[in-house]
């Protein structure tokens, strides 16, 4: 395939940016729901491709087809995650979690950090692909966190773990597309930069919970956890990047228990907890409406199960994921079934082509996170039904509608949005718009500026694809080439790309929609972005500065 010569003038650069701008304006400013905004962005991207980037219709068709396939991969997480949520909620499991955990620790700051940062990171370490958001958002709801915050917190809490999480799938994919000169140095520098979003996540979540008082109260916990997370991952990359995040995140989970025994984190947080719902159902003035009365009854009722039974699905999820993904012979056996279809080579008038792929991005259903979520949902349903929890809890909670109608109502809007975003991403990629965006930045930036900007390119890639892996696959070759021409250390620029790709997951529309879908607040994506976007921008600036420092001293 010829080297591309995509246009690098301001006009084309602005046109290439326009679908992203349109999406952001519709979501964050005009507050359109994601299922409505996504298709508009898709149409804008397709029009720009056809009219300004010399994209033939068959190239567009290939981009669209690949985008739908990429989306299916994510939908296979969303639907089982929502099924798991509905199956457990109808049995009273979330109410049991709420009551049981508050006996374990009365400290909302500790609980929010434990679930939204530590547990979310652990899940990213083993499962990834949106599982942390899909699982943790409902758990945070169960302990009384406001729905928007229940989505914001795990989005921010899990971001740092994207690169080396899921057994370093992002790292391994990067090595598929570029030949890295010094693997150890690149992994080590990546882990240095990833420590920034890790620490920033802990502190920001604490600030969301209790502002300054929350941050001060959280400092010992955040300090301990970030040393284990960031420092542990850093040290472990010197040994084996593949296990670095998984082991560090697991160690942090274990440390939660002794931390919870410390009076500072077992006693109630002495400050206003700003992320909790303003609920009067815990004994304050009685609500007057019927719905409020039902909620009050539900909150005061004794759930049909204890804490350990409520955690059963998550234990099954963890065990099955670890057994299948960490034990090589088991993983190889489960990976023998592979599904995918071929796509031909295509090109554009600017030689922005794609090679033939047969099959394109095949997926192995029995090592997919959706499979583990499905098993967890099935295990929960069978055990809870056998123990009579559904029957017992139906006397207390409203059980109108079937589990499946609930899943459809939650999952369908999110699914339409995810498909739209991923199709847009692939159309932009296949038409050369993505390349124009990245090269345009590199063209105008002197070395130090490019070093700073390289993180932003990674963020852009993750924003568009909702995937650290995909961002690296898209941009790592480009970043490596520009680094060489600018005389910058390849290891630092690839580290910046990877860290940007991780941070970008906190604002990626498909991830946001995954969260709002599982939290039952589709349509409030703009509200979520209004919290995660400032955090992501600030962290990207810090990582950019860190990259410049790395290029100067290393």
């Amino acid at each position: 395939m010829n080297e591309s010569n995509v246009p690098l003038d301001l006009f084309h650069w602005a046109l290439a940016l326009s679908p992203v701008v349109v999406l952001l304006v519709l979501l964050a400013v005009l507050r359109w729901k994601a299922p409505q905004a996504g298709p508009i962005g898709l149409f804008v991207g397709a029009l720009v491709a056809l009219l300004a980037f010399q994209t033939p219709w068959d190239t567009l068709a290939v981009g669209v087809g690949k985008g739908v396939w990429d989306a299916i991969f994510i939908l296979l997480v969303i639907w089982p995650a929502l099924l798991l949520y509905r199956v457990t909620d109808r049995a009273g499991a979330f109410d049991a979690l709420r009551k049981g955990i508050t006996k374990f620790s009365q400290n909302d700051l500790f609980l929010v950090l434990a679930f939204g940062w530590v547990f979310a990171s652990f899940l990213q370490g083993i499962a990834g692909f949106g599982t942390p958001i899909a699982v943790v958002a409902p758990l945070l709801l169960a302990i009384g966190v406001k729905p928007v915050m229940a989505v914001v917190i795990p989005l921010i809490g899990h971001a740092w773990a994207n690169m080396f999480g899921t057994l370093a799938v992002g790292w391994l994919a990067t090595l598929q597309v570029i030949d890295v000169e010094d693997l150890t140095r690149t992994a080590f520098e990546t882990a240095i930069l990833l420590w920034i979003p890790n620490l920033a996540a802990g502190l920001f979540i604490a600030w969301l919970v209790g502002r300054g008082k929350g941050v001060v109260q959280s400092l010992p916990m955040v300090g301990v956890i970030t040393v284990i997370h960031g420092g542990g991952q850093l040290v472990l990359t010197l040994w084996d990047p593949v296990l670095s995040n998984f082991l560090a995140a697991t160690a942090a989970m274990v440390v939660l228990y002794p931390l919870s025994r410390w009076k500072r984190y077992s006693d109630e947080f002495e400050g206003d907890v700003l992320v909790l719902r303003d609920s009067d159902s815990e004994g304050d003035s009685a609500p007057t409406d019927e719905a409020g009365e039902e909620e009050k009854e539900r909150v005061e009722a004794e759930p049909p199960m204890g804490l350990s039974m409520a955690f059963l699905p998550y234990l099954v999820l963890t065990v099955t994921s670890v057994v299948v993904l960490v034990i090589p012979p088991v993983e190889q056996a489960f990976e023998t079934v592979e599904i995918g279809m071929a796509f031909p080579a295509v090109d554009t008038g600017y030689d922005a082509g794609e090679e033939r792929e047969d099959p394109y991005s095949p997926f192995t259903p029995f090592t997919h996170p959706g499979f583990f979520l499905l098993i967890s949902a099935a295990a929960a349903y069978l055990v809870y039904r056998w123990r009579g929890y559904y029957r017992e809890w139906s006397k207390t909670a409203d059980q109108s509608g079937s589990v499946w109608s609930g899943v459809f109502e939650d999952a369908t809007p999110a699914s339409v949005a995810v498909v739209s975003f991923l199709v847009l991403s692939k159309v932009m990629d296949h038409s050369g718009q993505t390349e124009t965006l990245a090269l345009g930045v590199a063209e105008v930036a002197p070395p130090a500026v490019f070093a700073f900007a390289s993180t932003w390119i990674g963020v852009l890639g993750a924003f568009m694809t909702s995937s650290n892996t995909a961002s690296n696959v898209l941009f790592a070759p480009l970043q490596q080439t520009v680094a060489a021409s600018e005389g910058l250390a390849e290891s630092s620029i690839i580290a910046a790309q990877s860290t940007g790709g991780a941070v970008g997951n906190a604002i990626a529309p498909a991830n946001v929609v995954l969260g709002t879908g599982t939290a039952g607040i589709v349509g409030q994506e703009g509200q979520v972005l209004r919290k995660t976007l400032p955090w992501s921008l600030a962290v990207t600036v810090l990582v950019g500065v860190g990259t410049v420092v790395l290029t100067q001293i290393v």
Binding site: R31, W32, K33, P35, Q36, G38, P39, I40, L42, F43, W57, D58, L60, A61, V62, V64, G65, V68, W69, I72, K146, P147, V148, M149, M341, A342, F343, P344, V346, Y360, S405, F408, E409, T412, P413, S415, V416, V419, S420, V423, I521, G523, Q524, G526, Q527
Partner: protein, 69 residues
């Protein structure tokens, strides 16, 4: 299932159909097939924004703000 969910389900099914149609059509060089794939994805993608205005009137679906910050 409410009307909104039914419409979105139709939109989703149409968009998902686009994958096998475009994959087979482009790989086997069957122009009519991949064009059909593009059309069904386009139709599916049109449903949500059109329904925002066609069914909900002026497109104002009320405040999406639940009061959560």
């Amino acid at each position: 299932m409410d009307n909104d969910t039914k419409l979105l389900t139709v939109a989703l099914v149409l968009m998902l159909l686009g994958f096998p149609l475009t994959a087979l059509g482009t790989e086997q060089e069957l122009t009519w097939l991949w064009i059909t794939g593009l059309v069904v994805v386009g139709l599916g993608a049109l449903i949500p924004p059109v329904s925002r205005y066609a069914i909900d009137g002026d497109g104002d679906e009320g405040d999406n703000d639940s009061g959560d910050d």
